[in-house]
Amino acid sequence: MKKHILIIVAILFLSALLCADTVAVLSSTKGKVSLQRKDKNMKFKNGELLKNEDVIRTGAESFAAYKYVDASSQVKLFANSLVTISANKSGDKLAKKVKVDKGNVYSQIKSGTGPFVVQTPTTVASVKGTEFLTRVGENGESEFVVIEGEVELEDIETGQTGTVGAGQTGSFSGGQFNVGDTPDDGFSDEELGGMDSTDGNTLIIPYQDKNGESKYIRITY
């Protein structure tokens, strides 16, 4: 009995530690953005460290972006969105999760960096290195627009699964899995602006010129 109590206490302690762990960094905000931690609104600045179960909400014409601590994933929230972020260390990788209650969220994930799951009120999407957009309506209806890579969807109620590939849009409706090609005009201006980023790798090589002054060569590949 004592042993069980000790194990429970250890788990709770570890959970508390994990809950308190820093999981991401708030890299950019614009407009009306709020951050909640343990049900309390928090004041924050650019570069704020985000903890497990932090809730981010964006208002009208607002934007927020954050990156996970393993530097593998970037998530961008468009206007009128509400997400809860979490992550746990899984072996030597970070298992990441984004719970999207409403709004449009763009995710960019590097492959081979640990599981990445996006959960909406109706669907769970497991991602394996990709770029995709999650849209959740006011009634919780969800669709996933995949730009690159592949996303596996699972309907929370029925357990049905489906795969959405690059250039496709997928969703569950009435127990049915629907997938089709994403139309060319399938993105709003706000979404297009938020997804545009120079995500190429950049290498900076410092050197000294003949006058002894420090200069840099920047290579993007």
């Binding site: 820093t22 960094v25 950019s28 650019n46 570069g47 990156k67 393993d70 530097a71 050197y207 000294q208």
Partner: protein
């Protein structure tokens, strides 16, 4: 942040100043986060030097700071000093050495002549391996100042193996670790109101004892729409020191000053530098218990404000107008420098001091009213010319009458010392052509000196009776400008109170050539400038050749001749030739050598004049000195990497004299000297122990009397670092002995102490020392003393 680059910063320079020469090799093994140790070797003339400071500043910063150097031994051949680690975190540092001679003159090495660059120290690249496991999360390349500067770096992949206490974050070469947050596997540094411009950052750490460092990340911070933030930077030091002496002789406790030791003293001083946008402020304060109104002032107070078009200083300052008017003297008052692109006006007014000494060796100090002004036109990078004036007038009632009034045997009042009045006016011109690396310049000055202003001015009637002519002006109206009476030297200004200096400098094919001619009249005096040899002309030529970064050759010739006024019956001529060489090949010891040859002789003004010939005694002096040396950093010695410097000197000096022109020269003195100096610094790698040894042995042999005198000096010091350099106890021993045919003297010093650095930038030092003096020939002179020195320094 600029990546910390490994730059084998190499600069050798040799400097010659009035017979003192110095040599400095820029260290290349500078470790970030540690003090930069600098070693300066005085190759000749060390006896003339009283103090040396390192004057340094961050490149492109106008604020310079000073750190004192300490001689390693009594012979003052090697001097050591540091540039503090707090400064070494910044981008490249440039520095010079400020050498103060015993006559009060201070000059910089290298000179601030506009053609000689200062020494430069560039921080090294971090040691270890580049690690790509430091990943930048805040990767915005361009941010607005309104958003703030954010550095967020993830080390998730190495979180389990990294030593988190070893993580250091550098932004723009400054260590900002204490201002950053490290949580889990992420570190975050933030500036809410950042400086606009290119910012660079790097992270270093240790993984299983091995050093690693990240890439260098740069971010451009652009001006924001909100009111721009002007950073307020400040730094400085506050110090307190106490020196307590206790002398014992024959079981009596006596006043230490009786035995040549310093008086007990307590002092506190502070240096503060601050900048806010275009405004720089500098403050220096020194208060000492040694302050005595009848002696040279010790206390110092100065407040300086520097703005884009004006620099103003209140308090103690050393104005620099021109070579002949005002240079190198401390003036306590106000100094204002108004400058624009092609014009400059400098005004200095305040109080200086002049030491006096009478026939009975009684010393006093006159306060002087000092005034100086310079009006300059032109550009420093082209043609410029200027008019300068200076005036120094002793304030008679600033000195107690006891110091200057005497009564002679018949009851008349005489003056042991007199109050003087001195005025100098000069014109200087300089042409600088940077593209051609040539510079020409000249200054001509005239002076007036009144050797005794105590009787006051002459009335107009007295002056007219003295001169025999009617004066167009009223002398009383000129009192504020100059006191005119019969004590003026000369009474009527002439060529004898004119001085001239002309020079040409050029840099051609790696040769820095300097040609200089100066001529000082027999009655020229300038109390605002350093000592000028009257009635003398000097021509000097020197050339410094630098071949790559490996070889430096320096040589020159100078000739000095006095009696240019032809008033004296004989003329003295001194000729000096010198040559120096430094050879430094990477990974090999550096070699140095020098040679000095001085010859002086006199000649009669008119050999055919029987009276001149009868009084003339030919005199011929010669001296020759050579030195050789080498130095090396033995990093390959296991467990104890060591730095070694070794010098050997030899020389001889002789004096020949004859009773008259017709007699042969007879040798009246002939001395030979030779000696060796060694200094070694050992840094143990397996223990936090550093040892320092210095030994010198100099022998002087008088050939005529067959007497030999040997001067030995030995110094050893060990310090042990505890608790990551927070506590460093040390012990040191020094022995100076003078032994010869007629005397054997010895000083022994034993010191033990501790340097503590309990919190960041605070240092507390305690040094307890024991000194003993023994005279083998006269034990009555033996004595011992104990000293206690306490120093607290807080940097901020």
């Amino acid at each position: 942040m600029k990546k910390l680059l490994l730059t084998p910063a190499f600069f050798l320079a040799v400097f010659m100043l009035f017979g003192a020469t110095a040599l400095h090799v820029v260290p290349k093994d500078i470790v970030p986060g540690k003090d930069a140790e600098l070693l300066l070797e005085i190759t000749s003339g060390e006896a003339d030097i009283s103090a040396i400071n390192i004057v340094y500043n961050v490149i492109e910063s106008s604020i310079s700071e000073k750190e004192p150097m300490r001689p390693e031994s009594e012979d003052k051949v090697y001097w050591r000093g540091i540039i503090p680690k707090k400064v070494m975190m910044a981008s490249a540092i440039e520095y010079r050495f400020e050498m103060t001679l015993k006559n009060g003159q201070s000059v910089m090495y290298p000179e601030e002549s506009g053609m000689t660059e200062p020494f430069v120290l560039r921080p090294m690249a971090p040691s270890g391996k580049l690690s790509r496991d430091f990943v930048l999360i805040s990767d915005e390349e361009i941010v607005s100042a309104d958003e703030g500067y954010v550095l967020a770096v993830s080390f998730f992949a190495i979180a389990d193996v990294i030593d988190s206490t070893s993580i250091k974050i550098y932004v723009d070469n400054s260590d900002v670790t204490s201002k950053a947050t490290i949580e889990g596997s992420i570190l975050l540094y933030r500036e809410t109101r950042p400086r606009v411009g290119l910012r660079s950052a790097i992270v270093t750490a240790k993984i299983k004892g091995e050093n690693v460092y990240s890439e260098t990340w740069t971010t451009q911070v652009t001006p924001g729409k909100l009111s721009s933030y002007i950073p307020f930077d400040y730094r400085g030091t506050i110090n307190f020191a106490a020196n307590i002496y206790d002398v014992k002789k024959d079981d009596l406790v006596l006043d230490s000053s009786l035995f040549g030791d310093n008086q007990q003293d307590y002092s506190t001083w502070a240096d503060l530098y601050a900048s806010y946008g275009p405004v720089d402020v500098e403050t220096h304060l020194l208060f000492s218990s040694l302050e005595n109104k009848n002696e040279q002032p010790v206390n110092r107070m100065m407040l300086g404000v520097m703005l884009p078009f004006i620099n103003a200083y209140w308090g103690d300052y050393s104005p620099n107008l021109s070579d002949f008017t005002l240079r190198g003297k401390n003036v306590r008052g106000i100094y204002v420098d108004l400058f624009a692109q092609y014009m400059k006006l400098i005004v200095s007014h305040g109080e200086a001091v002049r030491k006096t000494i009478d026939e009975d060796s009684m010393t006093g100090t006159f306060k002087q009213e000092s005034f100086g002004s310079r009006l300059q036109f032109g550009s420093d990078n082209g043609l410029r010319f200027a008019f300068n004036i200076s005036r120094h007038r002793d304030i008679i009632n600033s000195l107690d009458e006891a110091y200057y009034l005497r009564m002679n045997a018949v009851g008349d009042t005489t003056y042991a010392v007199t109050a003087k009045d001195n005025a100098v006016a000069s014109f200087d011109i300089r042409l600088n052509v940077p593209d051609q690396n040539v510079m020409f310049g000249a200054e001509v000055a005239g002076s007036l000196l009144n050797t005794n202003t105590i009787p006051g001015i002459l009335t107009d009637d007295e002056m007219e009776e003295y001169l025999g002519i009617e004066l167009p002006i009223t002398l009383e109206n000129l009192t504020d400008l100059f006191v005119i009476n019969k004590n003026m030297e000369p009474f009527i200004p002439s060529k004898s109170n004119v001085a001239l200096n002309a020079y040409a400098r050029m840099y051609i094919w790696n040769n820095l050539i300097n040609v200089q001619y100066s001529s000082v009249g027999s009655a020229f005096n300038s109390y605002g400038s350093f000592f000028q040899a009257n009635d003398t002309k000097t021509l000097s030529v020197s050339d410094q050749l630098t071949i790559g970064r490996f070889l430096m050759l320096y040589g020159g010739f100078s000739k000095t001749e006095d009696n240019i006024s032809k008033f004296n019956t004989e003329t003295n001529i001194y000729e000096n030739i010198f040559a120096q060489m430094v050879l430094r090949i990477p990974n090999l010891p550096y070699l140095k050598a020098s040679y000095f040859d001085n010859v002086g002789e006199n000649s009669p003004m008119d050999e055919d004049d029987p009276m001149t010939a009868a009084m003339f005694m030919p005199n011929h002096q010669k001296s020759r000195n050579m030195s050789f040396g080498l130095g090396y950093n033995f990093t390959m010695i296991p467990y104890v990497p060591s730095q070694l410097d070794l010098s050997y000197r030899l020389g001889n000096s002789s004096n020949e004299r004859a009773a008259s022109l017709d007699d042969d020269l007879e040798l009246i003195s002939d001395n030979k000297t030779n000696g060796i100096s060694v200094t070694m610094l050992n840094r143990f790698s397996i223990l936090p122990l550093k040892t320092h040894f210095s030994y010198s042995n100099y022998k002087t042999e008088n050939i005529l009397s067959d007497k030999t005198q040997t001067n030995n000096s030995f110094y050893a010091k060990a310090d042990y670092s505890l608790w990551e350099d927070r506590i460093i106890p040390f012990v040191s021993y020094r022995n100076n002995s003078l032994s010869g045919s007629t005397q054997k003297l010895a000083y022994n010093y034993f010191n033990a102490g501790i340097d503590c650095f309990p919190i960041k930038d605070l240092s507390i030092g305690l040094d307890v020392g024991s000194k003993s003096f023994t005279n083998a020939n006269d034990s009555d002179q033996n004595y011992s003393s104990t000293t206690l020195k306490f120093l607290v320094t807080q940097r901020f």
